[in-house]
Amino acid sequence: MRSNRAVELSTGLFVLLGFAALFFLVTQITNREYLTNGGSYTVQAQFENIGTLKPGAAVSMAGVTIGRVESIRYDQSIYKAVVDMRISSQFNRIPVDSDASIMTAGLLGGQYIGITPGGSEEYLADGSRIEFVQDALVLENLINQLVASFSQRSDSKGDN
């Protein structure tokens, strides 16, 4: 029989290793890191169509993630989707006339919000709203437009 001390030592090592692995998974593999350092503020944007945007999607500027989509709800009085975005407070100089558009990351990627800075000297603060928005591209609409423009062209050719 092995001495009690050796058993306790290896058991302790095993338990510590387990918790270290859990700590690694929770801190290094998941996406909490930017919310833990410093605070954050919330801005709002209203879209006609959000496509497949989901809460938790990235909000990015120049490709760098600066926040997350906090919530998405449908406002019946204006017939639009209202998107709340939580942005890390270290990025506190986003002009009020910035442009928020819903974009797609790669072929298989999910949708995210890309913010293009405007030229104003005033900056977005907690609770403010981004006025300039661009809706998600809906593939069906895109194809419809394409087909329409093709058929228009062939019509005008037929006239000549």
Binding site: G18, A21, L22, L25, I29
Partner: protein, 255 residues
């Protein structure tokens, strides 16, 4: 007619076994508070079920992660999105492969050891001797092993997942040349803390199932060499089947 009778008979014995396991579980759970007053016994069992399974769990985690890296890369590069390798492999490991493979290994390594140990105690009349000395064998033998397995299994699961992700990283980033920055950042963007919790919950449930089957089979083993052998085999088979069935149900509930 005899076929029908046989089916009914089998069904009856199945229901009776389920009932016996449930009663045994009640008996075990009733003794948990008193068993907790002797933590030394439980620590010994965490050592047996957990620390001694560590090497096999870590080796298997590394290779399962590595093969995920190879297959994931081969599949994703057809769509030009090999950057998503981290996301795909991490989610697969955290939600399915980690808990299930760990549970199967746990049943094979720790479950069989538990069943044969308790079965041998039964075969060599050690359990009867305890009863003679007014020591409840369930409290002294079964409960510490059950709790030890219950604690060890989730810890083994997270270790398996962490090592597995390391294995994916070794193969994907270092051998096949996936960009390290996008590998990690896409993984971070996609994996939520709730996903890790899902894997952990599965680990706890599978630990419960495997430990219960192992101690039940050992405790009720026929007290012969053959009986102990059969109990050990049944432990692996029943644990594996139940783990896969529970995995489906848990996934359906939590997805």
């Amino acid at each position: 007619m005899s076929l029908l009778r046989e089916i009914v008979e089998n069904l009856r014995s199945f229901v009776a076994t389920v009932g016996a396991v449930a009663l045994f579980l009640m008996r075990t759970l009733a003794q948990v508070p008193r068993a907790l007053t002797r933590p030394g016994l439980i620590i010994d069992q965490i050592h047996n079920a957990g620390a001694l399974s560590l090497v096999i769990i870590m080796t298997c985690g590394l290779f399962v992660g590595g093969v995920l890296g190879l297959q994931g890369y081969d599949l994703l590069q057809r769509f030009g999105s090999e950057d998503a390798l981290g996301t795909a492999a991490a989610l697969a490991l955290i939600k399915e492969l980690g808990p299930v493979v760990t549970a199967l290994l746990f049943a094979g390594r720790a479950g069989t050891a538990l069943a044969s140990e308790i079965g041998l105690m039964r075969a060599t009349d050690q359990l009867s001797a305890m009863e003679m000395m007014a020591v409840d064998p369930v409290r002294r033998v079964v409960v510490p092993r059950f709790i030890g397995g219950l604690i060890a299994m989730p810890l083994l699961t997270v270790i398996f997942i962490a090592i597995g992700i390391f294995g994916v990283q070794v193969v994907g980033v270092q051998l096949l040349g996936v960009d390290a920055a996008s590998f990690w950042s896409q993984m971070r963007a996609a994996v939520e803390v709730s996903d890790v919790m899902e894997g952990l919950i599965k680990g706890v449930v599978f630990g419960f199932v495997c430990s219960l089957i192992a101690v039940y089979e050992g405790y009720t083993a026929t007290p012969t060499a053959e009986g102990v052998g059969r109990a050990t085999t049944r432990t692996v088979v029943i644990s594996a089947v139940l783990v896969l069935i529970f995995n489906y149900m848990l996934t359906a509930v939590m997805l």
